[in-house]
């Protein structure tokens, strides 16, 4: 079981970065005005941020990391590891994290690796990055997570195109002498991998000219095999069945209750999915912040982005009890419960080309 507790780590700071360009749902030419209205109300996206040509995930994450490191006053050579969670890496090989080590001016003695995860990626990545912490070795980790999902979507696919937004994030994790238990649980179900995937471009189905030919699907959808396929109902059913018991389990292990938790930062999959989970767990609306309305579903960046969007300011957070849960592509789902100590949450940063 990947259920663990780590006692001597803390989140020193969180930052998130989004592109400047706004795409509004009401301007999406493939939906009628009534469809747009229903989409905004139920799916919850009113607008989202998309990168301009040439801007990639590592650019957004690097901007977030620079702002964060400066704000919390970390010397670049005090960082011992860099972990990068993304499904939109710069190159097929090598790992983008290694390129980021150089771009951020970190020393060669810094370990760096990528993790290919999406919606659950922030929480699984946080668990892995925090697990690296060791008082005699790795004491500081910079953990980056994000995606430019807009690159993988077909404009002619109403089930994906208006849903996903682009964002990057940076989280600073460090060793702490003070006992600070952080509870994690991560689970996986690869049987359902094709509920949300891109078929061509990997080694099992290598990209050929045929992969780029648009095909028609029910509901007037057109996409090619290098673009994202989303079976909304399957992902919805998976999330509402698997996520609430996992959150309950981690709360119980942390000896916490909904009443004693200040905020639940849930992956911004779509509003109705998050609302169903929220209602099943009887979490009051004010404890469940949203960012999907203005940023869309931002994959592994959605949790830190929601934190920055709703809690980002000059005041460091102490004694705040939070629970976070990421769920989706894989299929994969993960939850963490912790108390923040002296954590700097920056307001959302806009990326300037």
């Amino acid at each position: 079981m990947a259920d663990i507790v780590l006692n001597n780590t803390r989140i020193a700071g969180v930052a998130a970065c989004v592109p400047q360009q706004i795409d509004r749902i009401q301007d999406y030419d493939l939906m009628t005005a009534a469809e747009c209205e229903s989409f905004m109300k139920t799916v919850g996206v009113h607008e989202r941020r998309v990168v301009s040509k040439g801007v990639v995930t590592s650019d957004l994450c690097a901007a977030a990391a620079r702002a964060l490191i400066q704000k919390i006053d970390w010397a670049p050579d005090s960082i011992d590891a860099l972990v990068f969670v993304t499904q939109t890496s710069d190159y097929v090989i090598p790992s983008t994290s290694i390129i980021l080590q150089h771009r951020l001016g970190l020393r060669n003695g810094c370990m760096a690796f990528d993790m290919n995860l999406g919606c659950s990626g922030y929480v699984v990545g946080l668990q892995v990055a925090s697990s690296l912490i060791n008082p005699t070795g790795i004491r500081r980790v910079i953990f980056l997570a994000g995606d430019v999902s807009s690159i993988n979507m077909s404009h002619y696919d109403k089930s994906t195109y208006p849903l996903f937004g682009d964002a990057g994030s940076a989280t600073a994790i460090e060793y702490t002498e003070t006992q600070n238990p952080v509870f994690f649980s991560a689970e996986s179900d690869g049987k359902e991998f094709d509920a949300l995937y891109v078929k061509a471009g990997g080694t099992r189905h290598m990209a050929t000219p045929e992969s780029f030919v648009y095909k028609e699907y029910p509901g007037g959808i057109k996409r090619n095999d290098t673009q994202m396929i989303l079976d909304g109902l399957r992902v919805f059913n998976f999330s509402i069945t698997r996520v609430p018991p996992q959150i309950e389990k981690v709360l119980q292990r942390a000896n916490a209750l909904v009443e004693t938790t200040d905020f639940f930062f849930l992956h911004q999959a779509n509003r109705i999915m998050v609302e169903t989970i929220r209602k099943k767990l009887r979490i009051p609306l004010e404890k469940c912040p949203y960012s999907i309305d203005v940023f869309g579903n931002t994959s592994s960046a959605s949790i830190p982005l929601t934190m920055c969007h709703t809690q980002g300011n000059e005041t460091k957070k102490s004694s705040l009890h939070i629970c976070m849960s990421g769920f989706g592509i894989g299929l994969s789902w993960a939850t963490a419960c912790m108390q923040l100590h002296d954590t700097q949450i920056l307001p959302v940063i806009e990326y300037h080309d």
Partner: protein, 110 residues
């Protein structure tokens, strides 16, 4: 709620000395339950006129039936009855009664 009712039903069968009372009791309870389901649906969909939905209503014709509305229905059923409907369940259902029967069966089977 469904669990409580099925318990009552079993108890009624045990008291089979009054078969007609049992029939009356079960029928009215069933009506109550489906009416409750209907009012939950009417609450969820603003465009649906209260009182316009009946057990025999064919939901695809009555609602503005889209995948978004399907999610609203699935969400309500999951929150209220702790039952997860599948795409196949939806495919084989035509009326509100069909949906309700599936919810009952799934709730009874845990």
């Amino acid at each position: 709620m469904i669990d409580k009712i099925s318990f009552k039903k079993e108890k009624s069968i045990g008291e089979s000395s009054n078969f007609f009372l049992f029939l009356f009791f079960t029928t009215s309870v069933m009506e109550l339950l489906i009416n409750d389901f209907i009012s939950k649906i009417e609450n969820e969909f603003e465009d649906v006129e209260p009182g316009s939905v009946k057990p025999a209503t064919q939901f695809r014709n009555h609602f503005d039936w889209t995948s978004v509305n399907a999610l609203i229905l699935f969400s309500m059923i999951n929150v209220e009855y702790n039952v997860t409907l599948s795409a196949e369940d939806l495919q084989k259902s035509t009326t509100i009664q069909d949906l309700f029967n599936i919810i009952e069966t799934k709730a009874a089977n845990g």
